[in-house]
């Protein structure tokens, strides 16, 4: 999966699950402060990303270090690469 595809699919999740306008979805946008998600929304975000990308996130402590959309793109790319090497995300 290319980085561009990760960005596209991630943005689609934010648009569809949280009705956030695409113009707000920039790499430096802070997920909580700029995009307005709260701790309960993060649960839905994790579930939606797991379903969209077919990866397992919920038990990965690294997800908790994600602050911006750019951090999230990079994280998903990394997890996807690990899954490809290990056989499953």
């Amino acid at each position: 999966m290319t980085e561009q595809q990760v960005i596209q699919w991630t943005n689609e999740v934010f648009e569809q699950a949280f009705e956030i306008e695409r113009s707000m979805l920039t790499a430096d946008a802070h997920i909580f402060e700029d995009l307005g998600l709260d701790s309960l929304d993060i649960v839905d975000l994790v579930v939606a990303l797991q379903d969209r990308f077919g990866i397992r996130i919920r038990e990965d402590e690294r997800i908790r270090t994600v602050e911006t959309l750019g951090d999230l793109y990079a994280y998903i790319v990394m997890v996807g690469q690990e899954a490809a090497l290990g056989g499953e995300g």
């Binding site: 309960l40 839905d44 579930v47 797991q50 499953e88």
Partner: protein, 495 residues
């Protein structure tokens, strides 16, 4: 058919190996139902009718799940049915499994085990369990149509001529104890030992046709006597020392720590006797199903999670009875085994579903909006309530406010968590922290009997996501999703 077979056929199951498998949520063995098609219709069958070849796993799907099991650590695959030997692709599958470096075990009633097939089974080093419930033709007829009763005997002859049993390929005789064959079991055991055959005797699990026929009921005291007698003979005559414990004669069944069953349509269950569907390999990977399963998590830790008299038994460290029997008789896969002779005087301590929710959840009248816990399954449960005029959220016209449905869903998941942890100390307190996508599709009136179904769909950290449906007489009244918070050590947030 039974699945506690791996250890009986030589799969070395050292305690530390099992402990490692449990800790890592890995497998040491896996059972797979090739198909539900079967030649006879046995009165003692614990199976269900075939759903047809178009719903059953394809050859490729079966191979894929075997590879998944291998990746999870499985060392042997046990092939079940229906009757696997009538399946056209049986040898293709056996040879595929062997090519993966895995052992193969197979249960058969002897169908199609002619001289050439017996030879081919032996060449592939298939460890066999031949189903034969007694010597006498009468009991064999209970097992099968009369004309098929000779299958096992003919198959046994062919297998012996092919080289069974040997160090490379074992041959067991699989027998389910019922009141019609009880009197033969001691003789059967000794005959099998003298023939070099593995006895695989098990207590009849109460499901499928067996309860309706009532042909399987054996009083626990008599089972105890039988187990003790066989243990004595095995020790004195054959030098094999073991302690009697249900449900297997001469073996301990702790299979849920290291195995699972993949059914013919892809449903994964803990074993043949415990029909709780954990997931389906057509929707999720086997790894994910096993990792996410709360039922398996509980079973792997049964010495800590089991309820009632079994939890106090001095054998609790290495015995948990038959979980399938417990589930089929009580609705609770963690209940004490009601058929164990050690529990004969303590049956009244074994909780059986349905059960009142009082004590399972912290809510009390008038805020307790559910009455009864009906059933529990894999991250799911059903409850019910009869709506009364005394309930809050009921207006002067006897209509229940829509918001009550959300609370009913929340209390239902709480009841499930409370039941799962019953007897394990102070119940964890959870909180309803969110709701979304609530759709109300009909009014609820005083007098209505509602059924609430809940399913834990996901979790992240201490937040669990629960889908709920409220129905009246099978008609959906409301559906929605809630989020529940509990601390990290509790159950409701653990999906």
């Amino acid at each position: 058919m039974s699945g506690c077979f791996a250890s009986a056929t030589g799969l070395e199951l050292r305690a530390e190996l099992i402990a490692e498998a449990v800790a890592q949520k890995r497998l040491l063995s896996m059972e797979i139902e090739l198909s539900r098609d079967c030649n006879p219709r046995c009165a003692l069958c614990d199976g269900v009718e075939s759903e047809g070849a178009n719903r059953e796993l394809t050859s490729q799907e079966s191979r894929d799940v075997i590879l998944q099991a291998k990746a999870l650590g499985a060392r042997t695959i046990t092939i079940l049915g229906g009757e696997p030997m009538i399946h056209r692709g049986i040898f293709d599958l056996i040879e595929f499994i062997r090519e993966q470096g895995l052992g193969v075990a197979l249960f058969t009633n002897g169908a199609n085990v002619a001289a050439d097939t017996a030879q081919r089974l032996f060449e592939n080093r298939v460890n066999l369990a031949l189903e034969m419930d007694a010597f006498t033709p009468m009991v064999q007829r209970l097992r099968a149509q009369e004309e098929d009763a000779s299958l096992a005997i003919e198959a046994l002859r062919n297998l012996k001529e092919a080289g069974y049993p040997s160090d490379e390929a074992s041959l067991a005789i699989s027998t389910r104890i019922c009141r019609h064959n009880m009197s033969e079991m001691v003789d059967l055991w000794q005959w099998l030992r003298d023939q070099g055959l593995l006895p695989y005797l098990e207590m009849m699990p109460p499901k499928g046709a067996a309860p309706a026929s009532q042909q399987s009921d054996v009083e626990p005291g008599k089972l105890h006597d039988l187990f003790d007698e066989i243990a004595r003979i095995d020790a004195e005559k054959y030098g094999r020392i073991w302690e009697p414990q249900p449900p297997l004669v001469g073996h301990a069944c702790l299979r849920h720590g290291f195995s699972c069953l993949v059914g013919a349509t892809g449903n994964v269950t803990p074993c043949v006797g415990l029909p709780i569907v954990l997931g389906n390999v057509r929707r999720d990977s086997l790894r994910r199903i096993l990792e996410d399963s709360e039922v398996l998590e509980d079973l792997r830790n049964a010495t800590r999670t089991i309820k009632g008299p079994c939890s106090e038994c001095d054998k609790a460290g290495h015995c948990y009875g038959c979980r399938g029997t417990a589930y089929n008789l009580t609705g609770d896969y963690l209940a004490s085994d009601p058929t164990c002779w050690r529990n004969a005087d303590r049956r009244d301590e074994i909780l059986t579903l349905p059960v009142a929710v009082e004590g399972l959840i912290p809510h009390q009248a008038p805020m307790c909006l559910i009455d009864t816990l009906l059933s529990v399954g894999e991250r799911s449960a059903r409850t019910s309530v009869r709506v009364t005029g005394e309930m809050p959220f009921v207006d002067t016209d006897g209509l229940l406010d829509e918001c009550a449905c959300i609370e009913m869903i929340a209390q239902s998941i709480a009841a499930m968590a409370g039941f799962r942890r019953a007897g394990r100390g102070t119940p964890q307190i959870g909180m309803l922290v969110g709701a979304k996508d609530l759709r109300i599709e009909g009014p609820v009136h005083v007098g209505d009997l509602l059924e609430i179904s809940v399913y834990k769909t996901a979790r992240f950290g201490e937040i669990g996501v629960v889908a709920g449906i409220v129905q009246r007489d099978g008609t959906v009244i409301a559906r929605g999703e809630i989020k529940v918070w509990e601390n990290a050590a509790s159950d409701a947030a653990r999906a």
